[in-house]
Symmetry: C2
């Protein structure tokens, strides 16, 4: 089967590339940690061409990219489109990167230019485009991660969204505060009941979050808590806090589309369901690829290029 395009999700610290047939079939795939930070050193075009070559991409195969490659400090800036943003207009706002060998486009992120609620996304909008293509154009969507996004999607338009620094706070607190002694060697998935309990604490007692964080350490010092639960409790407190923030923004959480993968998908599903929120899980990677394919089709038409 002939390749229609290469699709790339280029994050801050990760790089993923697929060769796709017109119908979305994956013909080849590459993963690496050459995200934006690494590619700034090595050169974006060099990194891309090496992976295309390794994947066996035909000469002159066009490439569509989403994510941080389009940031100001990335390959070439793809200016944000503003929310409310119709997702099927992203392709038209893609920028063209001048390279000698092939047609390379970078999709824009979305900006929320509200001085009381400024926010930005880069990469998630393409997963949301895929979600819309899959028929889920009306939803409250949670995309957990380093910077978790909560998005109000209506008729294929990103109306409003909020970013919560949950993943980054978790990693930073676990690595650099006194809690590093408390969470050593733990696993957030190892203590389900401790996790669920902490989600509820973070959700219902948000103002006390920094006291409860210190409490993880104090509980161990005083012999109240099992050391193996501390990681689950830290994770639960911060995810619970995020859910409280989402509810404060978007009202009581009833049905949430969880656009995620792997470990985070399992943790957030457990957290949401423990609060009696109905969860509809959709694999984020699949939607990202689908969004990139949809943008490629809009840019290069329905005809196979090669």
């Amino acid at each position: 089967m002939n390749a229609f395009c290469a699709a790339v999700d280029w994050g801050t610290t990760s790089f993923r590339l697929w060769l796709l047939a017109r119908d979305g079939k994956v013909l080849a795939e590459r993963r690496s940690d050459e995200g934006m930070m690494a590619a700034r050193e090595a050169g974006f075009e060099a990194v891309l061409e090496r992976h295309l070559d390794a994947a066996g991409a035909p000469l002159a195969l066009p490439v569509v990219i989403c994510g941080m490659a389009g940031a100001r400090q990335g390959w070439q800036e793809a200016a944000y489109v503003d929310a409310p943003a119709r997702l099927d207009t992203l392709a038209a706002a893609a920028i063209s990167v001048g390279t000698a060998r092939r047609d390379v486009r970078i999709l824009p992120g979305i900006a929320q230019r509200d001085s009381d609620h400024p926010d930005v996304m880069r990469g998630e909008e393409t997963q949301l485009l895929g979600l819309t293509q899959a028929g889920l154009g009306d939803a409250l969507v949670c995309l957990p991660g380093t910077h978790s996004k909560w998005v109000v999607l209506r008729e294929g338009t990103v109306e409003r969204f909020s970013t919560f620094m949950t993943g980054e706070l978790y990693a930073t607190i676990a690595a650099h505060t006194i809690l590093r002694f408390a969470v050593e060697g733990g696993d957030a998935e190892a203590g389900r009941s401790a996790f669920v309990h902490a989600v509820n604490e973070g959700f219902t007692a948000a103002p006390e979050i920094s006291r409860r964080l210190f409490g993880l350490r104090a509980a161990q010092l005083l012999g109240f808590a099992d050391a193996k639960d501390a990681t689950a409790r830290l994770s639960g407190l911060l995810i619970g806090l995020e859910l409280a923030g989402a509810a404060a923004q978007y009202g009581p959480l009833r049905l949430v589309v969880l656009l995620a993968g792997g470990r985070l998908a399992r943790l957030y599903r457990t957290a949401l369901e423990s609060l009696d929120v109905e969860v509809r899980f959709v694999e984020a990677d699949d939607m990202g690829r689908r969004g990139l394919l949809s943008a490629a089709a809009a840019i290069w038409g329905d005809g196979a290029r090669i």
Copy 2:
């Protein structure tokens, strides 16, 4: 005037020593960054003796110590006394450290053995003892810092307390997250109105704290915020969150005794007053010294030793 004792406040990363006359007059003073972490390497006795020598302390002058030197990983563990804890019983619970040269006592910290609200302090209890000696034995006390303490003091007894990780969260977020780009070169005291606005946000919208943290970065990316205000806003959000947590624990804040010093004293005073809380400021260092002297008098009697 003869020295009655040496008094040492030995924290995690700081060391302070005073030679005190019986009436509390400071005869000599030493400061260094040889806190518990450094002294574990260099040896506690060696660090102490060097500073005593440099301060011109008489041979065999007794020494009273508070703080992390009494932690499990410190010089010698001074087991916590339990809350509710009468502060005038701390001296009787001091441990005696075996050294050849002099009588050295380490005061205990206080533990709150409540499985739903476990907490510990080491060092602050001695400042609170000083506060009680100064006639302020009934108060809601705020001791801001790396691990801020809020303490309900009644008739010279520590009834309940809570630790908030405010200072440590601030330092960690500013150094290790994406916000490091936002706060570069800023000063929390430089943007008073930004600080006060953020205190109010953190206080009234605690569940949204991690969204508002990300918003500091997004606001800069989108040109809404003055870069020089980001440090003040980060500081304000986290202090506001702490005040919300204290109010959740101890009811509406009306009158708070602020046991602090320097920059933190100014920031917390501004924050509290912006929320219409009456503040009574007391210098923390003075109270720490006063608490140590009071414990020394209880241990060694009223007679001068030298």
